[in-house]
């Protein structure tokens, strides 16, 4: 088994303006090995996958494939070299058949006529599918297949490309346990035929079940690697989170007022269920979970974007059914969405117009915004509060850096004078200085008596900011932990549901 490496990544660094996504990382993959790449959200796993599949070009460092140094300019280069990624969201053509999907981009042609040789492609597909013991008709349209079977078709496509390295990014997130077994059977057969598999997952039980080797990244840095059989879960968790909380968080002395929001057994079909918590004025409630935990969905439901299928919400002592975003804003609930560019800002509008957008009602008289001075004054006041750096408030939002864009988004919401402020990943992808400003902003809001729900994938941020922490795992509420008592380890254990076993043995 211990043969020469198929793929080696050495000293790889990828810098985006203002952010080091990968910092001098390593990775070694051998043939016949299933290798887990482990890390929190934002650890750099996805960036590495994008480098390996030719989407990003690394800033520095080398990638060697079978001893030869390679550099991919695009996805096709990587495919031809034998690296294929199976994506989180299957990137397939739903209206085309299985055969057409598998041979998209590398159609077989008849040797003489140069016409597309569908017969040969269909036969080839049938052969590949039966080799993998898959019961899929090559002529079925992909839209008629289950998510699991689409994954299988993607893997089949990888084989048809003669892939040597198959990258699976969270392949089981949408699968039932039965389907996971099927997937693992195929992973094992890939392994036996000498392929290397890079397996990215948050689920430890799966990693322990299928993987031979693991590598841990944290904050874009290489932390360590080892054999799965020789390491304990605890050890790996420590590697994932074991940073010192070197960043300082602003002092925040909780001054809690009366209870403002009570959520009881809230559920949304297919997204989350059994979420219950209460929130007091001036409190910061951290909402933690890994990708797919359902945190954003909870926020959207409370803010009236999505409807709850079950459960009750009591807001300011009265039963509350969020009808729409407009309705919730009027009641004093604000949601700062995760994706600033797609949900937070109108990029083609000026900063002034972006910031005043949620409060136009207050700034206008009978629908008319006649007093430009009032609007500019309002914008300036809140913009300065957030210390936005821009050429002026007349420039379009799209010209700003990520950090400043985020400040604009926050400035937008201060003026709505929310009673409950929900922040979804407010510091994602922004520089350290802005991060500190955002943290200060959150504490200021809490000090003014605003109840804050802070959704974050960054454990130190959650630990440093929250009065209490609600941890979710795959749509279920795992625990509510007091911020003072919470340690990185307990929170992470709940988030990867490692605690289930413990509870079972206790009970």
């Amino acid at each position: 088994m211990q043969e020469a490496a198929l793929l080696e990544v050495h000293n790889l660094t990828k810098i985006f303006p203002g952010i080091k996504a990968l910092d001098d990382v390593h990775l070694t993959l051998r043939r016949g090995e299933v290798h887990a790449l482990i890390g929190e959200n934002g650890a750099g796993k996805s960036t590495l996958v994008k480098v390996l599949t030719g989407v990003y070009i690394p800033t520095s460092g080398t990638v060697t494939l079978e001893g030869r140094e390679v550099s991919f300019k695009n996805a096709i280069d990587a495919q031809e070299a034998g690296i294929v990624a199976i994506h989180q969201e299957a990137s397939m053509f739903p209206e085309l058949s299985v055969t057409e999907n598998i041979f998209m981009g590398h159609h077989l042609r008849h040797p003489k006529t140069r016409k597309l040789d569908w017969k040969a492609m269909r036969n080839e597909t049938e052969a590949l599918l039966s080799k993998m013991q898959l019961d899929i008709d090559p002529d079925t349209l992909v839209k008629n297949l289950s998510v699991a079977k689409r994954h299988m078709v993607e893997i089949t496509k990888a084989l048809s490309l003669d892939a040597q390295l198959v990258i699976m990014d969270e392949p089981t997130s949408a699968l039932t346990s039965r389907e996971v077994e099927d997937l693992f059977r195929i992973v094992r057969s890939l392994k036996e035929s000498g392929k290397a598999i890079l397996f990215i997952s948050h689920k430890f039980d799966e990693i322990f079940q299928i993987c031979d080797y693991y590598t841990v990244y944290r904050d874009g840095q290489y932390i360590g690697e080892g054999r799965v059989g020789e390491s304990s879960e605890d050890h790996i968790i420590k590697m994932m989170i074991g940073r010192s909380i070197d960043q300082l968080y602003p002092d925040h002395t909780p001054q809690w007022g009366k209870e403002i929001l009570t959520v009881e057994n809230l559920a949304q079909l297919g997204a989350f269920k059994g979420v219950s918590f209460s929130l007091r004025e001036g409190e910061i409630l951290g909402l933690f979970g890994l990708v797919g935990a359902g945190r954003t969905e909870v926020a959207r439901t409370i803010f009236g974007i999505d409807r709850a299928s079950e459960g009750t919400i009591v807001f300011e002592g009265r039963p509350f059914v969020p009808k729409s975003a407009m309705h919730c804003m009027r009641q004093g609930i604000a949601l700062v969405p995760e994706d600033r560019q797609r949900q937070g800002l109108v990029l083609k509008m000026s900063l002034t117009h972006n910031i005043s957008l949620p409060v136009l009602k207050l700034l206008s008289y009978k629908g008319m915004i006649t007093n430009g001075k009032t609007e500019r004054g309002y914008v300036l006041e809140h913009g300065q509060q957030m210390e936005i750096r821009a050429a002026g408030y007349h420039v379009d939002a799209e010209t700003l850096s990520g950090g400043n864009q985020q400040k604009v988004v926050l400035a937008k919401w201060i003026g709505t004078k929310p009673k409950i402020l929900i922040l979804d990943e407010p510091t994602k992808g922004i520089d350290v200085a802005t991060k500190a400003a955002v943290h200060q902003f959150i504490c200021d809001m809490a000090a003014q008596g605003v109840a804050v729900i802070l959704i974050s994938s960054e454990l130190p941020e959650i630990l440093g900011m929250s009065d209490r922490i609600l941890v979710m795992h795959e749509g279920r509420q795992m625990a509510i932990i007091d911020g003072e008592e919470a340690s990185a380890e307990t929170v992470m254990r709940h988030a990867i549901s490692a605690v289930v076993q413990q509870e079972a043995s206790n009970g």
Binding site: A325, M326, H327, K348, M349, H353, S356, L357, I369, G372
Partner: protein, 333 residues
């Protein structure tokens, strides 16, 4: 400080489509005027402006639809239907005041726009499909209403036909109306909450939803504005051309869209301004009227219009892409 803000002002002005268009217009006018000094004579300018007035009114309605991220292909048919309604009413009641006819045109257009808007907002049919349907339905209604016959000049009242040509302070009523529409909707687009929300919906419907802007309401409003302005245009059209013909204003949607595109209105929504649309309309008018001056037959008219639209769109796209690349370089992807 003053110097840097002055510099910023110049940069801002340069980046604006309105200014580039104005300069282009001047560049275009210089050789034309050299060739034919009478081109810029007051009477000729007045003629060009009157020629473009109806297009300007319709283009402003089209502007709001495009701004919201949609398109209204039914404008020509709404003009035809309302024009026919006004013509036939005038034929039956010659004593009716032209003002009443304008009001009738406005109201009929209002309901036709409302139909478009409701289909788009609540029927969830994309604007291009909705108006592709209604462009034919409204044209068909025109034929059904008229039974295929025309209302000719001698069947219309003198007062109605004279209405657009009457002058106040030396300027025709038609132009006054066009300027009034321009002013009102300039204000509407810039200084009302609704106007701002149209920009927001066109620029980013998701972000707009997160701040509580009602997308359905905006979608109805933009078609309502477009339909109502087309109704006004229809009433004026019959008077100005002194007849109501079933085929009138066929293909007018293309000119309205062209005026918007020339005026720098972003085709995917969210950016552009009324002044740009007005200049775009004027640009089309100057080019059309200049053709005889440069000895090109009027048969070239549609060809040249098409060419200009393509060039304008290509320029828009190129400058957008450049801007985008510059920004990507500055910022994390």
């Amino acid at each position: 400080m003053a110097e840097s803000s002055a510099k910023a002002f110049v940069q801002r002005a340069m980046a604006r489509r309105e200014l580039t268009l104005m300069m282009l217009l001047v560049v275009l006018l210089v050789p034309i005027t050299i060739r034919s000094p009478l081109f810029l004579s007051p009477s000729n300018v007045n003629r060009i402006l009157n020629d473009m007035a109806i297009l300007a009114i319709v283009a402003i309605g089209e502007f709001f639809v495009i701004l919201s991220g949609g398109i209204d292909l039914s404008v020509g048919s709404i003009i035809a239907f309302t024009g026919m309604v006004c013509g036939m009413i005038n034929e039956s009641y010659p004593a009716i005041s032209p003002f009443v006819l304008l009001l009738i045109g406005l109201s009929v257009g209002f309901f036709m726009g409302l139909t478009n808007g409701v289909l788009v907002a609540y029927g969830k049919i994309p604007p291009i499909i909705t108006t592709l349907g209604t462009v034919n339905i409204y044209r068909g209604l025109t034929f059904l209403l008229s039974g295929g016959s025309w209302v000719t000049a001698h069947e219309l009242s003198v007062a109605y036909i004279a209405f657009p040509r009457n002058t106040f302070l030396g300027v025709s009523y038609l132009l006054w109306i066009a300027f009034a529409v321009l002013g009102v909707f300039y204000y509407f687009s810039r200084y009302t909450r609704m106007g701002r929300e149209i920009y927001a919906i066109g620029g980013n419907p998701t972000a707009a939803k997160f701040v509580g802007v009602s997308e359905n309401k905006i979608r109805v409003v933009v078609f309502l504005v477009s339909g109502t302005l087309c109704g006004l245009a229809g009433a004026l059209w019959t008077a100005r051309y002194a007849s109501a013909v079933n085929e009138m204003a066929t293909g007018f949607e293309m000119q309205a869209v062209a005026a918007c595109v020339l005026g720098g209105v972003n085709f995917s929504g969210g950016a552009g301004g009324i002044i740009g649309v007005a200049l775009g309309t004027l640009f089309l008018g100057v080019v059309t009227n200049a053709l005889p001056v440069v000895y090109l037959s009027v048969f070239w008219q549609t060809f040249v219009q098409g060419l200009i639209i393509l060039i304008a769109l290509a320029l828009n796209t190129i400058s957008d892409q450049r801007k985008h690349r510059r920004m990507l370089a500055q910022r994390r992807a």
